[in-house]
Amino acid sequence: MMTVDVLPPPTETDPDPPIERPASEPVGPLGESPPSRSASPDTAASGQIEVESLNAFYGPFRAIRDVSLRLEPQAVTAIIGPSGCGKSTFLRSLNRMHELAPGARIEGRVRLDGLDIYDPSVDPVQLRRVVGMVFQRPNPFPTMSIFDNVAAGLRLTGRLPKARLHEVVERSLRRAALWDEVKDKLRANGTSLSGGQQQRLCIARALAVDPEVLLMDEPAAALDPIATLRIEELIAELRRTYTIVIVTHNMQQASRISDRTAFFTMGTDRAGYLVEVGDTAKIFTNPSESLTEDYVSGRFG
């Protein structure tokens, strides 16, 4: 199947401190030049998401209005904005989780590598294997061991020889920077880990099915500062391989970990809309919109 074979090799423990990113990245105008296009040419283009006049509804209620933006591969895009402005809804419309809510529907286009994910030819179940998701509260399967949690996506979606399964589980745990902490207790229950470890377990679980895009809905909001730091380090590491979109309430976090930032807010009809998107440095220091400036400087929201 499409899985595993393309899984990149596990990153050896990297000597460079992952959070400190060189300041030399291009800080260009809106929607331009994603930072540090390194790596092989075939991965360079894959994983780009283009959102075009996206509207999301819950029954008659419009949760987001007319959002258009581009999410770059091998970069972290942070979605910030006040509560209720549709950040999570936006995120969930990128892997078609939004439509699982009763009465929910979408208008507009979301293109992943040029293909509209709302095209009738797209199977949402297959899509979600390519566009993975990590949630706010760590949610390991309580009936499964650490190993089984990571293997869950592969076991429940298809068959894989046992030896391969072991390999993928170890790789995924290594990528999620959890292997050393759990390698001696893979049979222990997933819920026996600390909150931060559980969240990294959930990230490993998402990585195991080999996604191209990783959506993170406030992945550190339920964690203490030290666990948060580890998640942020991990995101900085994963950024080299995946398209990462992260919703966060924490503006320091957004400025620390993201390459680009999109600021959403709520209109008078309570529908969320995109105010501005651009390189994180620009959004936080010299935004084009006064609304953005008010928000990032703490004057509103």
Binding site: N95, M97, L100, P102, V125, Q126, L127, R128, R129, V130, G132, M133, F135, R137, N139, P140, F141, P142, T143, A152, G153, L156, T157, C202, R205, A206, V209
Partner: protein, 307 residues
């Protein structure tokens, strides 16, 4: 009398209570003392009431144990009723219950569990409410009516009392119990687990099976066990269906079959001390099994709550 009400407090400015004022306000006197007495009286009353509620259970247990323990012997467990005369054992009833209840379980579990999956996972608000309401009503339907209902379409057409009809009648009793307990168990499964599974690209059917049902399994098993215990003790639905039999019927579901409650009912109403004793013995056996299931199930969930 001199206290609080007498001296209206100035709206602002300092106020110095006289020595002993505050102590007087908070010490027990008059009303306070009466309240203490009333409290003690009502507590005692509540305690007595709760003990009274335990008397029937204790009484039944003690009575059946004393009367039944003596009659519960090897003969009762290994022999059928004697063909002629009086004596023998309850093997026909034991074997009958051991066949009809499992068949009823096999019928009721899939219907109840799948029904609950529909109500909890797929049904809209309305259809879920309808199914839930119907299940609650069915729990409340007198079991003799269920016996008559099954009688009309599984006994009358064949002009033959049969064990299959008995199993179906027991299954009808079990389905709503299984459905409601399973539904509650599924509702306790956090939505975040379903989301986690779906977000991994796991199909819905697989998510329901491997995540939702798997996580709710302890609760579902509890419901199933309680339903089994309930079915074991039912007499009325079997009167019109399996009828009962003095013969040990192994595997012939087209013919009458005995069951422990039927055996107890029959033997207890005979004018014969030996048969009456057999009824006590069978009652004790039934009580032990049902009690064991209940203790097993409750004890497990109790331990979980503490642990």
């Amino acid at each position: 009398m001199t206290a609080a009400g007498a001296s209206l407090r100035p709206i602002s400015g300092p106020r110095t209570p006289a020595p002993g004022d505050i102590a007087r306000r908070i010490q027990r006197a008059g009303l306070g003392r009466r309240r203490g007495l009333a409290d003690r009286g009502m507590r005692t009353l509540a305690l007595v009431a709760s003990l009274t509620a335990l008397v029937p259970l204790g009484g039944v247990l003690a009575f059946v144990a004393i009367k039944g323990a003596a009659a519960l012997n090897l003969d009762l467990l290994t022999k059928g009723p004697r063909a002629l005369g009086i004596g023998g054992g309850a093997l026909n009833a034991i074997v009958g219950t051991a066949q009809m209840v499992p068949l009823a379980t096999v019928i009721a579990l899939p219907v109840g569990i799948l029904g609950a999956v529909y109500v909890a996972e797929f049904g809209g608000q309305r259809s879920a409410a309808v199914v839930r309401f119907a299940a609650d009503v069915l729990v409340g339907v007198p079991s003799i009516l269920i016996g008559i209902f099954v009688f009309t379409f599984l006994v009358l057409p064949f002009r033959q009392f049969n064990a299959f009809a008995g199993s179906v009648a027991l299954a009808v009793i079990m389905v709503p119990v299984v459905l409601r307990t399973t539904e509650e168990a599924l509702h306790l499964v956090p939505a975040s687990l379903r989301e986690a599974s779906l977000a991994l690209g796991v199909p819905v059917w697989r998510t329901v099976l491997s995540v939702t049902l798997r996580t709710g399994l302890p609760g579902i098993l509890t419901g199933a066990m309680l339903a089994i215990a309930r079915a074991m003790g039912e007499t009325a639905p079997l009167l019109f269906t399996a009828l009962g039999s003095r013969l040990v019927n192994v595997g012939n579901f087209g013919q009458p079959m005995d069951a422990l409650p039927l055996f107890i009912y029959r033997n207890a109403t005979q004018p014969n001390a030996v048969l009456n004793d057999q009824a006590w013995g069978a009652a004790f056996l039934l009580l032990l099994v049902v009690l064991a299931i209940n203790v097993l199930v409750r004890g497990r969930s109790w331990g979980r709550r503490i642990g």
